[in-house]
């Protein structure tokens, strides 16, 4: 990055603190704005549209729903993925009519997972205590094969009716999706890792790609805050595209300055 422009340098160096604060400000404003206007129209997301039906079907057959966040957890780089995936899983747990099995391969997800289950339970209108068996943790590694192996075994031994896997997955997802295909269980999956995402795209009943998993709330539970996040994301995206175009234009005109 051989940029010499002082503004760009400033932006680069302080972006990690300035940028989120600006976004936070924007987000606050836009959720206020969205709240005052009527709901936003969003493009169709087949996966989020299929989810309620999938859950319903599982419930109708008396089968539990398998939810998983994979390797996402509060371990630093994955923290925000873990929060986003907790949100998506919460939406699913809330809509599910039957029992839910939540699996994870990151232990920091356990408290979040219980929070998700408890909250969903409240939202579904049942108070009372939770049993520990609905949340299962399996040890992790760079690829969580303990999770994948155990989940694939569990999916058949517990007669799972539907699977929603959103979070951090690598190619180990293939083991789980294979098990789902084998037992004819519907599956929705998305991952922030590209190799896991490739497997998810190929094997999920409806495609769900990358960032789409961060915004489940906007489709499944369109509160002003959830919608504002989507608006913010779109805005940022266009800003990014503009920045990219400007940089490309400058580079093109400067005769193609060699990158650093």
């Amino acid at each position: 990055m051989a940029s010499t422009d002082p503004f760009l340098i400033f932006l680069q160096e302080n972006a990690s603190i300035v940028f989120p604060l600006l976004v936070a400000l924007g987000l606050g404003l836009s959720s206020f704005a969205v709240g005052r206007r009527s709901a936003r129209t969003l493009r169709v997301m087949p996966a989020w549209r299929a989810l309620p039906r999938m859950l319903e079907q599982a419930a109708a057959q008396g089968q539990p729903v398998h939810l998983s966040s994979g390797g996402a957890g509060l371990q630093g780089s994955d923290s925000l993925l873990a929060l986003a995936s907790a949100e998506a899983l919460y939406q699913a747990a809330r809509l599910a009519q039957g029992p839910v099995i939540l699996t994870t391969s990151d232990s920091t997800m356990i408290p979040l997972g219980y929070e998700v289950l408890r909250r969903a339970q409240r939202a579904r209108g049942f108070a009372g205590s939770m049993q520990a068996g609905t949340l299962r943790w399996f040890p992790d590694g760079p690829r969580s094969l303990a999770w994948a192996g155990a989940a694939s075994a569990l999916m058949s031994s517990e007669y799972v009716g539907a699977n929603l896997l959103v979070g951090g997955f690598g190619p180990e997802l293939a083991l789980v999706s294979h098990a789902a295909a084998r037992r004819g269980q519907p599956l929705l999956a998305a991952s922030d890792q590209l190799d896991g995402q490739a497997v998810a795209w190929a094997s999920a009943d409806e495609p769900l790609i990358g960032e789409e998993l961060y915004f489940a709330g906007a489709w499944l539970h369109p509160t002003p805050a959830n919608q504002a996040a989507v608006v913010m994301q779109d805005t940022l995206r266009w800003l990014l595209i503009a920045a990219l175009l400007i940089l490309a234009f400058l580079a093109y005109n400067s005769g193609g300055a060699a990158p650093a």
């Binding site: 940029s3 129209t41 969003l42 169709v44 920091t108 058949s156 590209l194 490739a198 940089l247």
Partner: protein, 228 residues
């Protein structure tokens, strides 16, 4: 009495076969192997973390002779946070305090993740993609074009059309379709590469099974191609 190594070889040989029995269908042997594995992995994680992290930490803080109050507080904080999170798993009592513990974790995690997303991904990729453009080099122009199409594909907001459906503007849609093509090609290539890797790994396992079978099973020594 077989030696320990012998038992080990047999164990790994049989476990490999048990896992591969999955190819015949989900079965007891496969599940057994997987659950043994999950248990062993959990045991090792516990030992390694205990030995490698917790014990040194305690020695540096709580167990220091004549520890200061600062050291004691610092040493106890993670344990307290851990306990509060643990409490959260079992009951809703003390919800507020455990929420604070979670907040601390989320706070630090958010910072690290934001730093990573911005300094690790956003800025390097943005500048590298944008500044990589060289006049006259088609590929260097196609690259940012592809990135832009991909980004546009995700565009969420749409216009409401009379039937009530969300529909994106026509030019956005055109870019989005191109972007979808780029994404599908990307995922396909990654998928193909993943197959290649798993082929490599599987070939290693096959070689292992064959070699072990030759060593462990009482078959005559295979004859290498005779010379002359």
């Amino acid at each position: 009495m077989a030696s320990v190594e012998q038992i080990g070889l047999w164990t790994s040989f049989l476990l490999t076969l048990m896992v591969f029995s999955y190819l015949l269908g989900d079965n007891l042997l496969y599940r057994l192997a997987v659950f043994v594995f999950a248990g062993v992995a959990a045991g090792y994680s516990a030992i390694v973390i205990w030995d490698g992290i917790l014990i040194p930490w305690l020695h540096d803080t709580l167990l220091v002779p004549n520890a200061t109050l600062d050291q004691l507080t610092l040493g106890a904080a993670p344990l307290l946070i851990g306990l509060l999170l643990l409490a959260r798993s079992w009951s809703t009592r003390g919800d507020g305090l455990s929420r604070l513990a979670l907040a601390l974790l989320i706070g630090v995690g958010t910072a690290v993740a934001l730093d990573g997303a911005i300094n690790g991904t956003l800025i390097p990729l943005l500048f590298d993609t944008g500044e990589g453009v060289v006049a006259g080099n088609l590929d260097s122009i196609l690259l940012p074009a592809g990135v832009i199409c991909t980004l546009v594909y995700f565009q969420y907001q749409a216009r409401r059309v009379p039937e009530g459906a969300g529909r994106r503007r026509r030019h956005v849609q055109l870019l989005a379709v191109l972007g979808q093509g780029v994404i599908v090609i990307t995922l396909g290539a990654i998928y193909g590469a993943a197959i290649l890797t798993s082929l490599t790994i599987f070939s290693e396992r096959l070689g292992f099974v064959v070699q072990q079978a030759q060593v462990l099973l009482p078959t005559p020594t295979p004859t290498p191609a005779p010379g002359a």
